[in-house]
């Protein structure tokens, strides 16, 4: 693996730290009952988000899941709008009607987060079709979990993507759990990358806590896709050190497992590998960014005026007709 240059390393560290600080702040706000709805955090999984998105252009697409804050931040999403959405403000990414599980950011190439397990896979395949069809050269990435890999849409989409050589990269974040259920209770196959064989597609398993490694495999998959050689399935083995959602007591996690993975923290390992990186500075910058976003959100109007009809249909519906 070629050593990353300093600017890139700094950018990647900053991104991972921004995700971490963002999520830890949201965690605290949620505990204080300041945020409504569900909050699914990806603490411990930051290297996957950043390694993958570092290999993408702004114009490339990503589609993510209920656990998507990290992916969207890594893709360059607007943090003010994200926090405002969690606060259910008019200025939120989705004008306050979506919430954490539906964040979006068209300017950053984020199609959507999605609350249906597996949905990201099919939607990204569709976005990749558009790129191929229009010849835009764009690539689409689907983020999804180990649990999602047992959904029918996984199978149908990967088969179609391979068949039509669509420019899509399937990123399975195998964090060893689907809600409170261990991955080993969901499938006999622990290396999900193996499933690529069923579609005639390359598959690779990578240490999802090693941002360098994630970047490298994603880069090759993205070039393959861009050159018209079709999709790749990448499995990133990682771990969420937070709960499934905030409020989860996590009694199902063995203490030794938590300890092992905490010792493999992606940010700490990255900084340990490259001692010239300035973690303190990254933390300070991220904190300022997140506190600024919280302030922005708090000063924004609550989403109480949304025009639900306009949000539901782009074309005006006929008067005198029942909606």
């Amino acid at each position: 693996m070629a050593e990353l240059d300093f600017d890139r390393r700094t950018r990647m560290l900053n991104a991972m730290v921004l995700i971490r600080v963002f999520e830890e702040r949201m965690q605290a706000l949620f505990a204080e009952n300041q945020l409504a709805g569900f909050l699914h955090l990806s603490i411990g999984q930051e290297a996957t988000a950043v390694g993958v998105c570092e290999a993408l252009e702004t114009t490339d697409y990503i589609v993510t899941t209920h656990r998507g804050h990290g992916h969207i931040i890594a893709k360059g999403g607007n943090v003010d709008a994200m926090v405002a959405e969690l606060f259910a403000r008019e200025t939120g990414s989705c004008r306050g009607v979506g919430g954490s599980m539906h964040l979006t950011d068209p300017e950053a190439g984020v199609l959507c987060a999605n609350a249906i397990v597996g949905a990201s896979i099919g939607l990204a395949t569709g976005a990749a079709f558009s790129s191929q069809f229009t010849g835009s050269g764009g690539v689409a990435v689907a983020f999804f979990g180990d649990g999602a890999a047992n959904q029918g849409i996984f199978h149908e989409s990967l088969n179609l993507a391979a068949l039509w050589s669509l420019p899509v990269v399937f990123i399975c974040e195998n964090n060893m759990y689907a809600e409170m259920s261990r991955q080993s209770s969901q499938s006999l196959v622990s290396d999900i990358a193996l499933r690529s064989i069923a579609y005639g597609m390359p598959g690779v398993t990578v240490d999802g806590n090693d941002v360098d490694a994630v970047l490298a495999v994603t880069q090759s998959a993205v070039s393959r896709a861009r050159e018209g050689d079709g999709p790749t399935l990448i499995e990133c083995k990682t771990y969420r050190t937070s709960g499934h959602f905030e409020g989860d007591q996590q009694t199902y996690k063995p203490a030794v497992e938590v300890a092992t993975w905490s010792a493999r923290d992606p940010i700490a390992s990255f900084v340990a590998r490259y001692p010239d990186l300035d973690l303190a500075r990254a933390n300070a910058v991220a904190s300022r960014r997140v506190e600024g976003a919280i302030e922005f959100a708090r000063e924004s109007q609550p989403a109480t005026t949304a025009d639900l009809a306009w949000l539901t249909y782009a074309d005006a519906r006929r008067e005198g007709a029942s909606t």
Binding site: Y61, V63, G92, S93, C94, R95, G96, V97, G98, H102, T104, P106, L111, C112, N114, I116, A119, I121, G122, L123, A124, T125, G126, A127, A128, F129, S130, S131, F133, T134, A140, G152, I153, E156, S157, N159, L160, L163, W164, L308, W310, L311, T312, Y313, A314, D315, R317, R318, G320, A321, S322, T323
Partner: protein, 327 residues
């Protein structure tokens, strides 16, 4: 005007729109090389090439997901689900994704997706190949649902559907496949949500959509022979549903009959009766009637299937009951 078959009108609408707009593509099972399981798409792949007209694997979920993701990113997909019965496999994609994507994104995305599908009632196709779910989809905010009863409407509504910036489900009736109608040449665009008075009348209002319109019309013919004047309203669109046209007609006739191919509960009939009754129950000078099949899946046996769906004689009987009550 040219006399055109129903399926050929569908074919022409797709061809003309694809000619007009390069961002349109069309995917489905056997729609390409084979020209469609029932021949409706013949010639399209030859004309527009295999990039724009593609055969897919049998993967209904992925097909509609593909359409949704593509529609969000600058193309205008047409996705064919062969029989509406198979749409059940793709409802997460259609309802949780396509229909809500604009809303969930706070209005940032549009989903100009057209899903074309066919109802095969009346064709001896049995319990898993005869269903229509028009009112399910009509209940979903974010979707439009149209169901033309004739070739001219098929062409006009499909063109509008393809041009819509919202997802539209376009339902075809296999029972109408080979019927012909005069279709204007070139540009025919029919707005979504406007019913058609298929036949003006004064004694009773008969409301139907899709394949049931032909039954209503044949019933009206027989009623005319008996000196009864029925106004037949072809809704054309299930969502939005043209309440104004229905209410005006009932205001005139005072009597309402709905004929439908789907089961009674929560069907077209319930909505139409509810719309009229909530407007003013006194408009109804006699009890309204819904003609629907018995509450069972569609039987295969041809004799059983024939008596399963309401027929013109049922229309006559129902109207006679109503007018009898009026005397």
């Amino acid at each position: 005007m040219t006399s055109t078959k129903y399926w050929a009108a569908v074919n022409a609408a797709i061809a003309e729109e694809m000619e007009r707009d390069e961002s349109i593509f069309f995917v489905g099972q056997d729609i390409g090389a084979a020209g469609g399981p029932f021949g409706a798409t013949r010639g399209l792949m030859d004309r527009f090439g295999p990039d724009r007209v593609r055969d897919t694997p049998i993967s209904e979920q992925a097909m509609v997901a593909l359409g949704t993701g593509a529609a969000m990113t600058g193309t205008r997909p047409i996705v064919e689900i062969m029989y509406m019965d198979f749409a059940l496999l793709a409802l997460d994609q259609l309802v949780n994704q396509a229909a809500k994507m604009r809303f969930m994104s706070g209005g940032h995305y549009r989903v100009p997706l057209t899903v074309v599908t066919m109802v095969a009632a009346h064709t001896e196709s049995g319990p898993q190949h005869s269903q229509s779910f028009e009112t399910w989809l009509g209940q979903v905010p974010g979707l439009n649902v149209v169901w033309p009863s004739n070739a001219a409407d098929a062409k006009g509504l499909l063109k509008t559907a393809i041009r819509s910036d919202d997802p539209v489900v376009f339902i075809e009736s296999l029972s109408a496949w080979r019927t012909t109608a005069d279709v204007p040449e070139g540009e025919v665009v029919i707005p979504i949500g406007v019913a058609r008075v298929a036949r003006p009348g004064s004694d009773v209002t008969i409301v139907a959509v899709g394949g049931a319109v032909a039954i209503a019309e044949r019933g009206a013919d027989q009623l005319a022979e008996r000196g009864l004047s029925a106004e037949v309203i072809d809704l054309r669109s299930v969502s939005p549903l043209d309440e104004t046209t229905v209410i005006s007609s009932v205001r005139k006739t005072g009597a309402l009959l709905v004929v439908q191919e789907g089961p009674s509960p929560f069907g077209i009939g319930d909505r139409v009766v509810s719309v009229v009754c909530r407007n003013d129950p006194r408009l109804l000078r006699v009890r309204p009637i819904i003609l629907a099949p018995p509450f069972s899946p569609t039987p295969f046996a041809p004799d059983l299937e024939r008596s399963f769906y309401p027929g013109p004689h049922d229309v006559v009987k129902a109207v006679e009951t109503m007018t009898g009550a009026l005397q």
